[in-house]
């Protein structure tokens, strides 16, 4: 999940003049956040 997050951040940083990429990657990042809530947030437990 964390590597997905890093990859999404990299794509976002390259998407300034590309709305189709920027908005879609924003939505993907929101979904990754839900994965974090459901897994990575408590993996150490």
């Amino acid at each position: 999940v964390l590597s997905l997050k890093e990859a999404a951040k990299d794509i976002k940083s390259l998407s300034n003049d590309f709305p189709a990429v920027q908005r879609n990657i924003s939505r993907i990042m929101a979904s990754i956040k839900m994965l974090e809530i459901n897994t990575a947030d408590f993996e150490k437990y």
Binding site: S26, R27, A30, K33, I37, N38, D41, F42, Y45
Partner: protein
Amino acid sequence: MNNQYWNPVLETLEREKLRALQLRKFKRIFKWAYENSKFHRSLYDAAGVKPEDIQSFEDIHAVPKVEKSMMRDIQRKTPFPYGDALCVPLEEVTEFRQTSGTTGQPVYQPDTWQDWEWWAECWCFILWAQGYRPTDRVFIPFGYNVFVAFWAGHYGAEKLGCEVVPGGVLDTKARILKIQELRTTAMMATPTYVLGMADTARNKMGIDPKSLTVNKITCAGEPGAGIPTTKKRIEETWGAKVFDHAGATEIGAWSFECADQPHGMHVNEGLFLVEIEDLDTGKIIEEPGKRGKMIITALDRQAQPCVRFDSKDIIEWDKSPCSCGRTFRLIKGGVVGRSDDITKVKGVLLAPSAIEEVVRGIDGLGDEFEVLVDKVGDVDRIALKVELMPNSETRREEIEARLVDQLRIKTNLRYNLSFHDYEALPRYEVKAKRFKDLRKSH
């Protein structure tokens, strides 16, 4: 892996680990609010609480509460329209909703797309626990508008994989026909509206709701599905399981009744921290069986954080763990009232839900009723209007005797009763206003 949980790890996490997770997440959301919202920062600075001070649950109890009236005040100030509580740039807000305004000026609620995903996620926990699966076709008879109500339920069901049928601007008859036509298996609505739909189906369309294919109904917006007599009425009328749920625009969808129907609701403790505050002492109640006011934190909400929000909902912890195996704590009987609803009449504390429980428990009375409280000189008066079902006129004396008796037992008050014809009282779709305290307008 057991198929009954949306998140089989989080929902069965040992209590100690769950509490540790809540503390860690509280620290994170508190820091987020402190660093990104001027309103929160000045509130906490005034109380002398900083993010690094939060090391235990006792430290959390020292964090100032936020009330709805404070949010109203903020939103009257610049920047328009959310004041200085917004934690993200305005261009990141993708969703606008507002509270219903039942208790005053509505509060605006901004959400980012991430928040909206989170809303849907909250609902996935609810719906999965109540037996919704991708094979379900879900009908939502809700006027999609500025109120959040079943919007998030819609997105949650969709995310879970259900086929969702939006019953938006259709009238009640058209909605019933759509349910019949599409053989929908589930529905989400307020208890009042579910009862109203059944009434229309039976008495105006000649359709027995039990003959429709709806096998589960998720209720929200009012306490009805947590009131045993109302729940029983809906279940018998529709031949469906009825589940309670509670949520709020400023909070999120924070609780749910599971498929085991334990006469209470689970708090989603993976996503929310619920504290119960004693109404007299202000101390936090940890033990079961004692009612208090809910103070709640949404642990992952971003745009307009909900940190120690004073919801005014009255709840109590249940002592027994649920047979479903979730470690999320149960609140007994759901939300049993609101601290600003409970009122004194003739010196007796009265929760309006107790009257509903009595009326809906008497065969021969209609679903609707109205309570009027006023004052003559220094003396309170309380009147109750009920509807007699068309085939029950001959039983009026027996029904009246039972009503008087049950009201005395459950509320310790005597009422001026009046019986009305079936359909004489107002019908509601959302936020029914059946309790009118005229003393407040004097």
